[in-house]
């Protein structure tokens, strides 16, 4: 269990936070219902509703976009002094030897790293492919659920409902999207820069406490 502490810890606090969001989101929804002389709905109906769905998926898509971008741009972009960056002279996809691909694979390398051809190409990009697929899927679900929640409000105000295409061009969809994107981009950018000068003893996300500010690609 100790060997998998990181995954287990984040899995547990994810579930706790999602349950918490469901409980307080349900209370907030019913508060709004009461304000409009509506009937409260059950917790189950709330967590299977688009109101809850869009709130969940708009955050998921931005998180997966953040990691997709970070995985991808750190191949080519470097940041002097940051432990988040590769050494300045290693920008790019690197050589097969450095990546232990094909005939450079060692006995413990994953099979697809040694296989060569399409399988190695796919496996070489598998992390970003899966992260991007989850991002696109959750962004799509945000659009589907967001449109239903938006249309509920529209009808509540005696306004016409939007189809999915119209909703994709609406200010509501882009407001929900961009408000999440900007916070992710800020957090990841500030992490890359702050880690040049600041340290956390023992964390692999930081340089060793005594490492110089211009040491790049060094993790403690």
């Amino acid at each position: 269990m100790r060997r998998h502490g990181l995954g287990l810890f984040f899995g547990a606090i994810f579930l706790a936070a999602l349950i918490g969001q469901a409980i307080v989101g349900h209370a907030d929804f019913n508060h709004a219902q009461a304000a409009h002389h509506g009937d409260p709905i059950s917790l189950w109906r709330y967590v299977t509703s688009s109101e809850f769905g869009t709130d969940v998926f708009e955050n998921w898509q931005s998180e997966y976009l953040q990691f997709t971008l970070y995985i991808l741009v750190t191949v080519w972009l470097v940041q002097q002094g940051s432990p988040e960056s590769k050494p300045l002279d290693r920008a790019g996809t690197e050589s097969d030897e450095e990546q232990k691909i094909g005939r450079h694979a060692d006995p413990r390398s994953p099979r697809w790293a040694a296989a060569g051809g399409l399988r190695t190409s796919i496996y070489s990009n598998s992390l970003v492919l899966v992260m991007a697929a989850i991002w696109i899927a959750s962004w799509g679900l945000q659009a589907v659920a967001g449109r239903i929640a938006y249309n509920a409000d529209q009808l509540d105000h005696q306004q016409a409902a939007l189809n999915l295409w119209q909703y994709l061009g609406s200010s509501d969809f882009w407001d929900r999207t961009l408000q999440n994107w900007q916070s992710e981009f800020l957090a990841v950018g500030s992490m890359a820069v702050l880690a040049i000068y600041l340290r956390q003893r023992g964390s692999p996300e930081s340089k060793p406490v005594g490492a110089p500010h211009d040491a790049t690609g060094v993790e403690g």
């Binding site: 219902q33 409009h36 002389h37 509506g38 009937d39 709905i41 109906r45 299977t48 509703s49 688009s50 109101e51 769905g53 899927a137 959750s138 679900l141 589907v144 659920a145 239903i148 929640a149 249309n151 509920a152 409000d153 529209q154 009808l155 509540d156 105000h157 005696q158 306004q159 016409a160 409902a161 939007l162 119209q166």
Partner: protein, 133 residues
């Protein structure tokens, strides 16, 4: 893959789970209201309106709902299309009118009737209604 399937199931569920009964109820309330008006049954027609909408009608007309509801001048017509989102719905009638419904303590009730799109984009401007809460 199981995660993708679970997400897909959740998305489909959010779009449709438990909505068939709601759609039937909302449609039935609208048709019951219009049929009652056609028969001159003000009591039944008023029972299909939300409490706020009934109160608005009584306020406007200065007489009991069952007497005032006939003076709205609404004509019976079939429900041609029903849109339902979470706890709100819109019934488009064959004669071009629309009615709005919301799900309250007594189930689905009409919150606005005799509605036509206002000038401009219908998504931006509220419909103009013969009666609304």
């Amino acid at each position: 893959m199981p995660r993708s399937l679970a997400l897909l199931a959740l998305a489909v569920c959010m779009a449709g789970c438990g909505r068939a009964g709601d759609r039937d109820d909302a449609r039935a309330v609208t048709e019951r209201f219009l049929t009652a008006l056609d028969r001159g049954d003000g009591t039944t027609a008023c029972a299909q309106l939300s409490p706020d909408t009934r109160a608005a009608l009584v306020d406007e007309e200065g007489k009991p709902c069952r007497e005032a509801v006939g003076s709205l001048g609404l004509q019976a017509s079939a429900v041609a299309r029903l849109q339902l989102y979470v706890t709100n719905a819109k019934a488009d009638l064959a004669n071009g009118d629309s009615a709005f419904l919301s799900q309250g303590a007594q189930g689905w009730r009409l919150s606005a009737v005799g509605c036509r799109p206002a000038r401009g984009k219908p998504a931006d401007a509220p419909y103009e209604c013969a009666l609304e809460a």
